[in-house]
């Protein structure tokens, strides 16, 4: 978005319109009391389960994504879920401060595809116990992702 300084933050109504208009995004939603809510069915691939997700968004915050159904923790069967925020349980889809998400970006073009991706790696993780989607956890050394993947691979072999 560099050099396009004239762009403004998208309003909740604009986000809602984009969500409704995008042919890859199903679901329904509303804007009420300065808060966008969008409930969307997501099936990452034909092999995956159908999930129901709810996106909530208030100006000045990042959109939250919760999975309403099925229950992720039941599927994980006691294992701690990777890449989530807790209380309430939400997916961690982007690195805060890295401008992967900004209020100028469209939810239907960022948060929704990232939810597909999260659920895709999640179902593999359920079986393999290995999160193959890369990423960072709070407190991680800010080192290149590739090195970390290599170190994990060495530890596994």
């Amino acid at each position: 978005m560099k050099g396009r300084g004239q762009q403004h933050d998208l309003t909740l109504s604009q986000q809602l319109l984009f969500l409704k208009a995008n042919p890859t995004v199903g679901g329904v939603g509303t804007v009420r009391a300065n808060r966008l809510t969008w409930q969307v069915p997501i099936q990452p691939t034909a092999l995956a389960r159908p999930y129901l997700a709810t996106v909530t968004y208030q100006p000045g915050q990042s959109p939250d994504v919760q999975i309403d159904d099925p229950d992720l923790e039941i599927l994980a069967d006691g294992r701690p879920l990777p890449h989530v925020y807790r209380d309430p349980l939400r997916l961690c889809l982007h690195l805060p401060g890295a401008r992967e998400w900004t209020a100028r970006k469209r939810i239907d073009q960022t948060v929704i595809p990232w939810t597909y991706l999260w659920l895709y790696y999640f179902e593999d993780w359920l079986w393999s116990d290995d999160w193959k989607g890369d990423g960072q956890h709070p407190g991680d050394e800010p080192e290149p992702i590739r090195n970390r993947a290599r170190r994990r691979a060495v530890a596994r072999s």
Partner: protein, 400 residues
């Protein structure tokens, strides 16, 4: 078949089951001889044939060495726990009358192989055949045969285990019959055809054309399932490959000629379900025995051992029941993790990890190169699809 009782498949079921078959197809390819291995085996066996033909031994005047067994049929499967494939060869000594002793002919072949500076070092004597060990790649098992004058189908005779008698066999006619049946194309219901037409250009991930046909994949997958099922069993009662192959090809031909199928997974499961119907139960010495006959020559019963060892028939039925329920579970799996788990149980962790790892890498590579998108009905895809939404770069974050 219970066709009437089944719920009709949804469009999503059809897409899901198509992907499952595609994954099983990839699994079969992973278990197969590679093109390079096959070429090396072909070069090696044609060199062996030339060497045997060059012998001055009158027993070996007109020798034909040809491929038989799974590498000839296209149903080879990587063995569990070792690298070498079995490549079976017939050394057909066409000029010999049936009076000769199997032991004498086998010795003549062995003596000729020992005259070769390389073969003598990699030669190993087995009960009925000679083995040439090409370490790390494959071994060639060379069985001598002679013409069977009683067979109207140009069959052959092969030594028995004790090297005392000749037994009828007909590998060349068997291969022709198998290839004919493998070439039969199943008929699918209009629904899947319409969907394939509408979505014909849309594959979630690049899929190769299934050149092998369904029958060869079924045989490969069943053999691998058998290997895993009997991996830790030391009784040596696992059903032999020729039995699995014969029952599968008969069941496949039967089903394909009579049924209209929902999709490939339907063909796989119904073929497996029908296999036991082709086991004959003749009365032998006053008892009901078992017969899985070679249809291409008289007198070869692949289930001979079932009549000598009473553990073998139950071992087949136990394995078959498990195979049927495992393939039904594969067909019906919803959730990548459930499919992965079923595949691991059925075919082993190694090949499952390789095949599913390749798929995940396709997504991860597409993500890095910006080619990954989300398409309506399909979900994540690396194919170019109109009306899809690109997946932008992100870094998953959050608590561990």
């Amino acid at each position: 078949m219970n066709q009437m009782l089944r719920q009709p498949l949804t469009d999503n079921d059809i897409r899901r089951r198509k992907q499952i078959f595609s994954i099983l197809d990839e699994l079969g390819e992973d278990l197969d001889l590679t093109e390079t291995q096959f070429d090396r085996a072909r070069q090696s066996y044609s060199a062996v044939g030339d060497w045997l033909s060059g012998s001055t031994d009158p027993l070996l005047v007109s020798v034909l060495v040809y491929l038989h067994g799974s590498s000839a049929l296209g149903t080879a499967v990587k063995p569990i726990g070792r690298r070498e494939f079995d490549v079976d060869l017939i050394c057909f000594c066409a000029g010999i009358a049936s009076g000769i002793s199997p032991a004498v002919l086998k010795a003549a072949v062995g003596n000729r192989l020992k005259e070769h500076a390389t073969y003598v070092r990699i030669l190993e004597e087995k009960k009925r055949c000679w083995r040439l060990n090409y370490a790390g790649d494959f071994h060639l098992d060379l069985s001598p045969t002679i013409a069977n004058p009683l067979c109207i189908n140009r069959g052959e005779l092969v030594p028995d285990r004790a090297l005392k008698e000749w037994h009828p066999t007909n590998p060349r006619a068997y291969k022709i019959l198998f290839d004919d049946r493998a070439a039969l194309r199943p008929t699918f219901t209009g629904k899947i055809i319409a969907m394939q037409r509408d979505e014909g250009t849309v594959e979630p991930f690049p899929v190769r054309e299934a050149v092998k046909g369904i029958l060869r994949r079924i045989v490969q997958l069943l053999k691998r399932h058998r290997d895993v099922f009997y991996e830790n069993n030391t009784e040596d009662v696992a059903p032999i490959s020729i039995i699995i192959t014969t029952l599968a090809m008969r069941a496949y031909a039967y089903c394909v000629r009579r049924h209209v199928f929902e999709d490939e997974m339907d063909v796989v499961v119904e073929t497996i379900r029908m296999m036991p119907h082709f086991i004959g139960r003749p009365t032998l010495d006053g008892r009901r025995g078992y017969a899985i006959l070679n249809e291409t020559t008289d007198g070869e019963n692949f289930a001979d051992n079932w009549n000598k060892d009473e553990r073998r028939a139950p071992a087949f039925y136990a394995w078959h029941a498990r195979a049927l329920s495992d393939f039904e579970a594969l067909r019906d799996a919803v959730g990548q993790d459930r499919l992965s788990l079923n595949m691991e149980h059925s075919f082993g962790p190694g090949v499952t990890g390789r095949v599913l790892g390749n798929r995940i890498n396709t997504v991860s590579e597409g993500r890095k190169s910006g080619l990954l998108s989300v398409a309506p009905l399909i979900g994540l895809t690396t194919s170019k699809v109109t009306a899809s939404t690109a997946v932008p770069v992100n870094t998953f974050f959050g608590d561990r």
